[in-house]
């Protein structure tokens, strides 16, 4: 994407403290960049608070800060990611998303052309998902007090009647389904990290899952739990669930889809794919009786093509997630400890 920034940056082409000062420059930044690209009837009201049409039903709200580095990565950037990440959290409550809000924290000196590229990618992601960015906010921090761009998005959605998705409904015996291969996002990001660079065809799986969820709910309204295994990977998500629900889990390593390149990158860097982040995958717990039907619905959706049943919920009072390994042994799958650092040992 080769974008000529509007005349905002005619002087320096970068974000100035002035752009956050509450004066004319800020108003113009908002108008010429944010409103221009993200335009939709709600945002175009131009209010500090967006007014939505009357709606009824149980509302769902979720928020996520995005602080990713690098800002641009194969398969997306912080703009599209901040849309997908929050839409997915709304979708994991079983909800139909209504709108998003976006709060930008910009570092002084950040190139306006990069900002425009990010906002355009955000706009494309939102419009592809069919969800408007209803309102936003921009702050500028001094050089050295930020990292280019941080974006905090909040999503709002409505839960269809009859749907009750909650971690409290996780019960021993249920099937654990995964919508596709793990680790793609994290490996795409790592491939661009300074000092780690490697070439790969792997692109981030960053995607909005609400239409997949809608299909799943239509087929099996009784789905018990949905989660998107983002930071900390599948391992963190399953451990969180186990801990919150007071259950254990038993996984089958051979059933968990991992792309060859992702496995290879993990070998190279000493990482476990189970700990690597995803941004377009979901985990689902449902009754065994519904599992096969759900699986075929998932596989019929473009974002669930590689879906698999990867294990079952157990009644382990120690709330452990355990896994039968490739070679037939048994191991525990723990949370990631600390940061995910490439290692040599």
């Amino acid at each position: 994407m080769n974008v000529a920034p509007s005349d905002l940056g005619r002087r320096t082409g970068t974000v100035d403290m002035v752009h956050g000062g509450g004066g004319r420059a800020m108003t113009e930044l908002i108008r010429d960049l944010f409103q221009r690209h993200l335009s939709n009837p709600i945002l175009d009201q131009g209010h500090d608070a967006a007014l939505l049409e009357a709606s009824s039903g149980r509302l769902v709200v979720s928020t996520d800060g995005h602080v990713i580095s690098p800002l641009f990565f194969p398969g997306g950037d912080i703009g599209s990611l901040s849309v997908h990440g929050t839409l997915n959290d709304v979708a994991m409550a079983g909800a139909r998303p209504l709108c998003l809000t976006a709060g930008f924290i910009l570092e002084e000196g950040f190139p306006l052309a990069d900002l425009e590229r990010i906002v355009m990618s955000m706009a494309a992601a939102a419009s592809e998902a069919g969800v408007p960015v209803a309102t936003g906010d921009t702050k500028v921090v001094e050089k050295g007090k930020g990292d280019g761009v941080f974006i905090t998005t909040t999503g709002l959605g409505v839960v269809p009647d009859g749907v009750e998705i909650s971690v409290t409904r996780a019960k021993p015996g249920q099937a654990i389904l995964l919508s596709g291969s793990i680790g793609d996002h994290g490996v795409a990001i790592l491939s661009k990290r300074e000092n780690l660079e490697f070439e790969t065809e792997i692109v981030s799986d960053s995607n909005a899952l609400h239409t997949l969820v809608a299909d799943m709910i239509e087929a099996v309204p009784d789905i018990a739990v949905l989660r998107d295994p983002t930071r900390g990977g599948l391992a963190a998500t399953l451990n969180e669930l186990a801990r919150a629900a007071g259950v254990g889990m038993h996984l089958d390593e051979s059933a968990i889809p991992v792309k060859g390149d992702v496995a290879a990158a993990c070998e190279l860097l000493g990482l476990d794919p189970l700990h690597v982040a995803n941004e377009g995958k979901l985990v689902c717990l449902c009754e065994q009786a519904d599992a096969d039907r759900l699986l075929s619905v998932m596989r019929a959706h473009p974002l669930g093509r590689d879906a698999a049943i990867i294990g079952r919920v157990t009644d382990d009072e120690a709330r452990l997630v355990e896994m039968e390994t490739e070679i037939g042994g048994l191991r525990v799958v723990d949370w990631l400890s600390g940061e995910q650092l490439p290692r040599i040992c």
């Binding site: 790969t200 065809e201 290879a264 070998e267």
Partner: protein
């Protein structure tokens, strides 16, 4: 200790560098520590350096030994099975 993984040399570069492939992953590594490398060779990669070539013949010999390891026991069990 000493995380290392076999990868295939796909290109030899100047300055004792090479490109290796591991599945679809390509990574530039140093070959300063090994001699007589050719494209197609597998090398053991550690902290961005090739440490040693991997021998295909020895690998398959080892795999055969592994396959034979349980043969006697398997046969004994089969015999037990059929004689039930």
């Amino acid at each position: 200790m000493c995380l290392a993984i076999p990868a295939k040399v796909t290109e030899l570069l100047d300055d004792a560098m090479a490109i290796v492939a591991l599945e679809g992953i390509k990574k530039k590594i140093s070959t300063a520590l090994v001699e007589d490398l050719s494209v197609g060779d597998y090398v053991l990669v550690h902290v961005g350096y090739a440490l040693h070539k991997v021998s295909p013949e020895e690998a398959s010999r080892t795999l055969s030994l592994m396959a034979e390891a349980g043969v006697l026991q398997e046969e004994l069990e089969e015999i037990a099975e059929t004689s039930k």
